[in-house]
Amino acid sequence: MTTTLTRPIDGEGSVQVQQDPSIHIEEGALVIAVYGKGGIGKSTTSSNLSAAFSKLGKKVLQIGCDPKHDSTFTLTHKMVPTVIDILEEVDFHSEELRPEDFMFQGFNGVMCVESGGPPAGTGCGGYVTGQTVKLLKEHHLLEETDVVIFDVLGDVVCGGFAAPLQHAHYCLIVTANDFDSIFAMNRIVAAIQAKAKNYKVRLGGVVANRSAELDQIDKFNNRTGLKTMAHFRDVDAIRRSRLKKCTIFEMEPTEEVLAVQNEYLSLAKKMSESVEPLEAEPLKDREIFDLLGFD
């Protein structure tokens, strides 16, 4: 007699190993993962958002999940060593580590961690993120945190992309008002919907970045059910803050800078007070071309 095995439910076509249930972030903290196409400004957005949360009096932890490890650069004003570098130093005996070895205080008390990554083409970015969360947990660093922000790498869809989804409550997607980044956003929405079947992660909304207009984004939002939570025009102050290695909150308070600061503060406020999970339906590739591709 033969039996047909049913496929495990873990997203369409995915045969990923289930996350170890013991590695979860303590209830209480709001966990946000920031996604978006490569180079769209995820790190800048994450850091400024962390800074904004800290301005609201929250205890914030930002975890950079990009092997490039410059996510928290503007918060700490330096390139900090990654968790993987430090673990290698002690031959992966994490018991030997102290929080100050891998966690660094940044602007306004924001705690910064760079998980780092495996060498290009080898290893798994998801493993690295998992190890980082485990380490933070073992050192009780997640227990008194109000907000955790994962700054996820943009380029690839792999374990490094998926791991933060297992911890996050909400995803924010950073996009510009152009076809390529909206196309990437559509794929991210699909991935999140797949994960949401098994995990608590939900879509939080869209952060429009470096865009004067919002027409394309709006079109996409209307069709899929997404919502724009914040809008940053192509503001030179943001670019200059990055060059100055600081957050927007440390810039000369010109009118332009104050406007941007307020937008970040309002985003932080919305995320902590009134965010609603969005039920968005991703488009098929053909549909998105039809919708935006031929304008």
């Binding site: 013991s22 018991e95 030997e96």
Partner: protein, 533 residues
Amino acid sequence: MELTLWTYEGPPHVGAMRIATSMEGVHYLLHAPQGDTYADLLFTMIERRGKRPPVTYTTFQARDLGGDTAELVKGHIKEAVDRFKPKALLVGESCTAELIQDQPGSLAKGMGLDLPIITLELPAYSKKENWGAAETFYQLVRGLLKNHPHEKGSQNSKAWKDQSRRPRVNLLGPSLLGFRCRDDVLEIQKLLNIHGIDINVIAPLGASPAELMRIPDADANVCLYPEIAESTCLWLQRQFETPFTKTVPIGVGATHDFLKEISEILGIEPPNQSETSKQSRLTWYSQSVDSNYLTGKRVFIFGDGTHAIAAARIANEELGFEVVGLGTYSREMARPVRSAAEKLGIEALISNDYLEVEKAMANAAPELVLGTQMERHSAKRLGIPCAVISTPMHVQDVPARYSPQMGWEGANVIFDSWVHPLMMGLEEHLIGMFRHDFEFIDGHQSHLGHQGGQPTTKHEPQTKYLNPDEAAKEIVSKNNSPIWTEEGEAELAKIPFFVRGKVRRNTEKYARQAGCRQIDSETLYDAKVHFRN
């Protein structure tokens, strides 16, 4: 993965048991298979406790795995709470149960029980006993106190002055199956009392959940055993801004430094060094003529972090020994042990493989070993005197009499227990020399058993035990040493044992330099001439 016969520490759930058993009114629900109940014996046999630990095992069996183990867990929780009526319940899993992923903590929390429930997540495959104990104590204290009101900036460790009362501190860290914790607590209480400091709460040893709730009333915390209490002290510092002491008062110097540290925190007059140095007999005994022959003795130290670091300081600064090896099995303490070793100009050994430690011991050729029960076995095998300074321990390390390690009396106890095996060791060669004297026929057994008092001629009947020189040779010969001929060995055996190790090392060094593959009596005397010049 390594398989090993003996380990320095048990799995982390044994650490959790230590905390539960140390306290009053706490019960531990342990999701574990039948075999894991062995851990009870650690408390009844080694610690000689009169009661079973307050632990309920779910003792699932193979056939339960086909059914609903979650129901089994809930049934046991209900029974335990009804029967023992604890004031707080710890819920956790042993290594085997971790794999079933029943999440007993969530199950317990969903049962609507009217008592604090602390879920323990102790990763059995990456962490060990002391970590488990520290994590359990931390989770318990935090679980009970995280909603305790505290106004930021209101803590002031000198506030007692305005409240017309004596300052008060908590003693944190003492637990069952810790090394001499029972007596250390009494000694430190006495010591602080003399200096006008009251004790607020002692935990976990003897404390109830209600007493843990009073922890924030103290002006400062005393972290007696960092392995167990440091994470809790750090949290209390973050949460309630309570400062804590970092010096562990073992030895005369450390006890003085401890008093100075706590005095500074509380804003009282620090004690005078010339006064404090007279409080223990260790200081005078080690300075006295009788102890001259202790100076420069080679000592090998291995244990948990706290006791190893303390022993190194006492050996080096207070007894005038030469520390030739220092190490620990606790990874969490690797850093401070490394820096203590660096100050002594040696490299620390961080390992939980007792055979590796034994090898290091043989290579260091010490005259005294200060270690755990594991090192006592190795030292016995190598024929070196040994005193036990740290867990893991044997029932004999839990004496009925008062014998603390901390404070002034602790220093006295340390002096006696380290120096006696060494003195006995020095007299050992006399037993060998006078073995043929008619007065020595019987009744003068060496304290090292058959291994001590080695016969000076090879015509003595061979004992069935491994001769200590053989053992040393066996271990050392792995590093490509020259081979001793039978005649060379016989000549070496004529040399009193307490210099024999040194002669062996020097001769081998000479043989290597000279390119000799074999060592006979001639090589031995050539080496003697060589090193004399």
